[in-house]
């Protein structure tokens, strides 16, 4: 029963990871920007939701505001940070440092605005009930799974059925061809940042009600989505989502065999193993050495 319990909580954690990682992968796939400030998007969305909930607004307004803030921040990063650097043909690491700097800025602003402690939005949905002897399940589990499936379905439909979505997928493969079709890569990269940042919102809202927020939360989210995007095969949305789920499950299951200390590092052991033995990831194309 311990195994089943750990599997269930792993799936819940994994669903949140999956959405965030998918957002990161979408941005990276379309624009080749290693968006490490994705964690900051997550933190901003979470705290926006928190602020509105504390002010007494209903949850959907809070979530809506979180969505607006997240998308705005994603576009801001694209427009004011990444593009100027890319215009100078700054290296991959230049982008990395700049984005990391912005993550620090966001974290400090949150500390100044919200204090440095732990904050949570109370919800009756998070309290687990014993559904089977020894197996506890909270209603939020079904919410997390449902939201993840719906969001993921919507994004997949968008990418496969709409002209913009198809353009987005093509952007990573052949920017020249796109230009011939009359789609501007600039506009597409805006769509990628907007959509990718939006994908961080459900995870942020769910985290605000389950494990709670703290200003430093962005680092952990950034690391997990980065790891999941690589394990899934860089640029593959499906891969990133599955890998996010996998990391969540591994993180929880490992506790049944190893010392609990290893829980947080377990995902990164998986990451390291994947790179050594299957560098293309779950769904990625083979990478040239």
């Amino acid at each position: 029963m311990l195994f089943l319990q750990l599997l269930v909580s792993g799936i819940q954690t994994g669903a949140i990871y999956a959405l965030t990682a998918a957002g990161f992968a979408l941005i990276f796939g379309a624009t080749r920007v290693f968006h490490v400030a994705h964690g900051a998007t997550f933190a901003l969305a979470g705290y926006t939701f928190l602020a509105l909930s504390q002010a007494g607004f209903p949850w959907f307004l809070g979530a809506g505001a979180a969505l607006v803030v997240a998308v705005a921040f994603g576009l801001f990063m694209d427009f004011f940070v990444y593009r100027p650097i890319q215009r100078h043909e700054g290296s991959f690491f230049t982008v990395f440092v700049a984005a990391f700097g912005m993550s620090i800025v966001v974290q400090s602003l949150i500390e100044i605005g919200f204090g440095r402690g732990f904050a949570v939005v109370a919800s009756p949905l998070t309290r687990a009930h014993e559904v089977l002897p020894g197996l506890y399940l909270a209603d939020i589990f079904w919410v997390a799974i449902g939201v993840a499936l719906v969001m993921f379905g919507a994004v997949t439909l968008f990418l496969e059925r709409t002209r913009l979505g198809i353009g987005l997928r093509a952007l990573s493969e052949n920017p020249e061809l796109l230009r011939a079709f009359g789609l501007s890569s600039r506009r597409l990269s805006m769509v990628a940042f907007g959509l990718g940042s939006a994908l961080a919102v459900p995870g942020a809202v769910l985290t605000a009600v389950t494990s709670g927020l703290q200003p430093a939360i962005s680092a952990q989210v950034m690391l997990v989505s980065l790891a999941a995007a690589v394990v899934g095969g860089i640029g593959s949305l499906r891969g990133a989502a599955l890998a996010g789920l996998l990391l969540g499950v591994v993180e929880n299951l490992v506790v049944s065999v190893l010392d609990t200390q290893w829980s947080a590092a377990a995902g990164f052991v998986v990451l390291f193993a994947f790179i050594l033995f299957k560098p293309s990831g779950l769904f990625g194309q083979a990478v040239a050495r």
Binding site: L6, R116, G117, A128, Y136, A138, S211
Partner: protein, 375 residues
Amino acid sequence: MLHRRSLLAATALGLASPLAAPRLARAQAGAHVIGTLFPMAGPNAEYGGIFTSGIQLAIEHITADKMLQRPIDLRAQDSQGTPQGGAVGMTKLANVDRAPYVLLGFTGVSKAAAPIGTRNKTVMINGGGVGPDLAELSPYFWNVIPLVNQEVQAMLPWLQAQKLLKIALVYVDDPLGTGVLSELKNGLPGIGGQLVGSFSIPPATQQFAAIAARVRDSKPDAVYFASYGAQQSQIVKQLRDNGVSQPLLTYSGGSIPSVQALPEAEGLVLSGQAADWTREDPVTKRFVTDWRAKHNSEPTAYHQNYYNGMRLFGLLAQGLEKAGKPVDGENLREEWLRVKRFALVGGEGVFEERGTMSMPMQINQVRGGRSQKIA
């Protein structure tokens, strides 16, 4: 002359910008420089704010009473809660600010700062870190907080009385956590109990659903956790959310507001030094009354400790000023060894030469978002 000039300068600066106000304090000639070395950013920064507010109230009282001839100049350094930050900050406080008296917290920071302070003969006061190896760290390192072994020992009789004998422990794997682990391991058999499970966690972990499953699986009567800052709230909430319904226990680290205000923390049992705000001695009474008036809330043990730490300086320096001796680290230590007993908030603090202070202990429980004494 000097005085007048600085007054003029002060007026000019004050008019120019209200932001420049702290500069005034620095211009004061011959102030007692007191350093603080707390985490002021990051996940543990909540403590920095709490510690500082206790010190500030003590300074207000020292100033109002005209205890000292010279004013107090408080200099803050951010320890970042890390040893490296602690070493860099302590070096600056000791060498640049030349503070003879530094208040700090956190076990890792204290251990890194201690050799530097000792070299410079700077008195270091810890009112937050409770790792057992903070005793006898240096002749200049004094604790105004009972260390964690004392806390666990105070908890044991209560556990026995409540017949909570099978304990599971969730702990951060550092000197604090391992200290709790060994105290429980050695102490529980003595009351007929046992440690049925111990689960170590890294300091930055935020997910505890899996730990909760393991804890439930070990079927304890009560669950003890030993952690810091924001992580404590996450442990409490996630244990409760994931079906751990047994009583939760912890040490004085759980006395910060963000933990106490959590609905899930209702019923949390925590040890700590006696914080009897109804005491009638003038020091405690004044502290409690003024705290309530100033902050419109109840003080916590940390406020008390750092108030005491700062008050201790006031008492020592007052003695030195009267005797006409310079207020430096060496003389402060001499005076401290000579007096040993001080009237502090919460009763008389008695120091031992290894730098620890014994204080009466009590067991509290969170009820309605506030800590109340239950034993």
